[in-house]
């Protein structure tokens, strides 16, 4: 069969294997979600807290955002799975072009 399922020739074994795999993946996704909520709360608290200066807060919350987006991309959007080489190429090409644009626009107003 041109089917893509891992085939042991015994459908019951395959189903049991897949059920285990999905349960495992779901666990990762729950952990990612908890971390994402946690990072969000940390970012809001860091901004709400008066004691930090902007020179600390801004890079800190940007770092939290990047970490959170990595969780979203690799776990929620499954980029950690096999067969995501082309998606990674497309996305990171977009990120490179975007980063250059942001760099250009933020430096052109510097003076």
């Amino acid at each position: 069969m041109a089917n893509q399922q891992p085939s042991s020739g015994n459908p019951r074994v395959d189903v049991a294997y897949r059920r285990k795999k999905s349960a495992e993946e779901m666990r990762y996704q729950i952990v990612s979600f908890t971390l994402m909520i946690f990072l969000t709360i940390v970012a809001f608290v860091a901004v709400g807290y008066e004691g930090f200066s902007g020179w600390f807060t801004v890079p800190f919350i940007l770092l939290l955002a990047v970490v959170q987006v990595i969780f979203q991309l690799y776990y929620f959007m499954h980029m950690s799975h096999k067969g995501h080489e082309a998606p990674a190429l497309f996305l990171y090409s977009g990120v490179v072009v975007g980063a250059v644009t942001i760099l250009a626009f933020t430096t052109i107003i510097w003076w």
Binding site: M1, A2, N3, Q4, Q5, P6, P11, R12, D14, V15, R18, R19, K21, S22, E25, M26, Q29, F33, M36, I37, T40, A43, F44, V47, G48, G54, T57, V58, I61, L62, L64, A65, Q68, V69, Q72, L73, F76, M77, G83, A86, P87, F90, L91, S93, G94, V95, V97, G98, A99, T101, I102, A104, F105, T106, I108, I109
Partner: protein, 209 residues
Amino acid sequence: MQAEEKFTYETWPAEPEKATLEAKNKFLGFWFFLGGETVLFATLFATYLALKDKVPSADHALAKDIFEIPLAFAATMLLLTSSLTSVYAMYHMKNFNFKKMQLWLGLTVALGAAFLVLEIYEFYHYVHAFGHTFTSSAFGSAFYTLVGFHGGHVAFGLAWIITLMVRNSKRGLNLYNAPKFYVASLYWHFIDVVWVFIFTVVYLMGMVG
């Protein structure tokens, strides 16, 4: 494998979103589109960063005057949770459970709609309480273009998911519609990815000053 073939839980492929040629093409094409969307939003972010707080006179409200933590936090929680509910929907899609997939997609739509209502209220509030409009300053133009474009994506995503749910409500899952649901959920996650940067760069950095 035929797209319209009837499946059972046992025969449903492990990766239905990539099981047919059309599905593989959709998957690849959609990620290519997301690469383009990344550039689109990056340019809007760049514009916003360059024009933030650029107002014609001192009586215009600045970012630190208009943004408040509770509103931005509530919107963030709604959208983040809707990302999780769409993950659940895809979990049930992979387990060939059409009813549960529809249920979780319904919850995703409800959370997304709540987000959109909150955003409309927010814009209304800025216009009426601060006179912060699209044409009041370069800051206003950049802000409404960036956040409004994201809101437009949310609205489009809602219409897309609702359309899929209604059109396939009697069909059940097969290899014709599974990739469609999968791609729509990717789009929904991408909207959340963009929002993570919006709440950080626009709202939180705006409040820092």
